[in-house]
Amino acid sequence: MFLAILAGFLLAFAAPLLYRWLGKWVYVPMALLPFSIFLYLLTLAPAVLGGDNLGELHAWAPSLNINLHFFLDGLSLLFALLITGFGTLIMLYAGGYLKGHPLLGRFYLYLALFMTSMLGLVLAGNIISIFVFWELTSISSYLLIGFGHDKESSRSSALQALLVTGLGGLALMAGLILLGIAGDSYTVSDLLERGDMVTSHTLYLPALVLILLGAFTKSAQFPFHFWLPNAMAAPTPVSAYLHSATMVKAGVYLLARLTPVMGGTDEWQYTLMLVGGITTLLGALLATQHLDLKAILAYTTISALGLLVTMTGIGTAPALEAMVVFLLAHALYKGTLFMVAGNVDHATGTRDLTELTGLSGSMRYTAIAALLAGMSMAGLLPFFGFIGKELLYEASLQESPFRWLLFAVSFFSGMVFVAVAIALGFGIFWRRSTSPTALQHPDKTLLYLPPLLLASTGLIFGLLPGFFVTPLLRRAAEAMLGVEQKFELALWHGFNLVLGLSLLTLALGYVLYRFSNQLLSYAARFNGLYLFGPANLYRLALKGFLAGATKITATVQNGYLRSYIAAIITAHIALVVVSLWKNGPRLEIANRLPELSQLRMYEVVLLLMIVPSLIFLFRSRSRLTSIAIMGIIGYSVALFYILFGAPDVAATQLLIETLTVVIFVLILHKLPAFRYLSHASERYKYVLLSLSFGAMMTYIILIVKQYPLDSQLKAYYGENSYLLGQGRNIVNVILVDFRALDTLGEIVVLAVAAIGIMAMLKLRMQKGDKL
């Protein structure tokens, strides 16, 4: 499994190169990869279906409990097969859809990156690696939505998707860590057996809230649903793959995965049912208010995701069984319909429902795929969607205080699904029309084959539910429930209440379709409501953030060196004052005053040289005078070094001081007249700051000197510099012998400075050039 993921990443980054070599045939290797992983997973399937959970462990950062742990049970297998199987078709489809696009190589890179990340997400057996793959899918989704980066709308949609899912991702990380603490393990297989321990832990509630936030943003649940319709800015292969079948189901996968760990509590059940229910209704309602094919599909996807979350929330065996069946059925027909919408868009240049009509003649195969998928979506016999819908109704009608509410939700969405299915699967293709929409180019094999294959899969699964599908879904449900399941899928359940309700749904759905135009006329009335919707909130928040950040940056990073320095110094003073205030030693200066009598004449003379020099320095208006005064101060300090037994330091100081004066005079004679530029108002502030800084430094020295210096270095060098270093000048021996490497570093610094100076002196710039 590790190898499969590694191969995926490698191939992803090889895609641009492959495109250069293979041209339009690049889809062959790109489709072969998911296909071979699909086959590989099929070879593992018998073991998993037989009741085993496969694991594979690679140590990554064991000390942090982060491991590349892969874990394959029924649930992961279902998702992994969906990802790779559908992935194969999408890779083919993308080759046809973006044929001749100059950036096709890059597109494949993103797509393969996403596919592999998604595969990693469902196979990961360590909750930290789940998070890593989770974020990778968000990032690759961002890149894919923003693929048409020359369009502003595409960029802002991509950013919106990234911000919303990224925010959820952050919450998820915190939640997963809390979960890891509560369950005392970061390994999924451990956690699966510790459900009671987790749910009774005090951290359960915060962990739950955070994890749900992550899952809801990813799966576009209310109130985070708004990013998904905007994500339709992506090329259609992306919408079909990421935003209907795989990535948006990552949230559902996470909820399903954690059902045995965190599920079963009231908080879990009611939150999921409430949020899922609202999302289902809202998605279905909004789907009837749009004319853009992809927008309609996006809203029905939101509705379907809501249903999946609701079913997960109910959490009973029939509900989870319905969940997995509907998940598979939805992926099959919704993926197909997206590709159909893409084909129509590609061939006719429009996605407007009202402009499209009578396409069955010119786009025969696409039309067949659309019909098959539409019938599955509407829940007709003998399609897989029919089984899904029956189970949904059955599950929502179970004994529960909310049974009628839950049923109403799924019934309403079912009705809308039927209407949408008729419009897309029948309306634009098969309804007789005197003036069919004209095509810009005929249907292509690479474009109609993948949806046709996917739609037929829906039919085959419906006709033969017992073959492979049932055991797989049963194992997936077992992974959520933790106990063995015995359900069998069958197409025909006999004449019962549920069948009657199905028929009623169909009839009402047809009515809805007939009156859809009238419904659409109400759309304008919603515009006022959108002002209070989450999409607008998001817009306002984003604007506010940008304005706030600009303001803060303009204040903090104002470009004036002195305010930076003032801030640093102020913070420094504040820190020292606080720490001295809290537990600092007291200064005892009174009993040290007698020391003053030991002052010698020449020491006083030095003081008398430095302090008046400073005063002159501040009063001087001539540059040359200032330089001379600096020299005086430097020399005075050098004399001071001599007095206290540091002749080498003094010599260096004298030398450097002389050099500085020379350079100053050489370089600066060309500068303009010397002016005072300080603001009068600021001057007092800076005087105060400087004085307090100086006072603080004085205070520090006085405090430090109250305590004896405990250093063995002095004695060590005193004893050894002649014996070990063969030198009598201890300072010299330290510099060139004991710490010779440091001196080498110093030389390097000087050399670098010299190179910099040379560069600046030699650099010739054009007039008006800015650095």
Binding site: A554, R623, A646, T652, M697, G718, A753, M765
Partner: protein, 120 residues
């Protein structure tokens, strides 16, 4: 002297910081040089003062005898002074270069790269 020096160092620090906070590039350099000087003195004083004996071993002896000055701060200072000189030389050339390119030595005129336009 041990009691006077801390105050002298404080005065030097104050003066240098005040110079650094000026708008004029030339004053900034003066401030930097003075700040380096103050820091060196600060280190030297913190490392204790020894009157008389320097850190040199006499001709007839094999080990240093008290009183001799602590060689460690001195070695540090030597390095600091030299590196400080590197910085000074660089800054002096920089100011010349900046004046040639921008025609100003006013630091406030050089703040554009860091400024964000408010009406963005």
């Amino acid at each position: 002297m041990e009691l006077i020096l801390p105050f002298l160092i404080g005065i030097l620090f104050s003066a240098s910081l005040y110079l650094i906070l000026h708008r004029h590039f030339f004053k900034l350099i003066l401030g930097l040089i003075l700040f380096g000087l103050s820091t060196n003195l600060f280190l030297f004083v913190i490392g204790r003062l020894t009157r008389g004996g320097s850190a040199i071993i006499g001709q007839e002896e094999k080990v240093a005898t008290e009183p001799f000055a602590d060689p460690v701060p001195q070695a540090l200072l030597l390095t600091a002074i030299v590196i400080g000189f590197g910085i000074q030389a660089f800054a002096i050339v920089l100011i010349k270069r900046v004046y040639q390119s921008f025609g100003t030595t006013d630091l406030d005129d050089m703040s554009t790269t860091d400024q964000i336009e408010d009406n963005h």
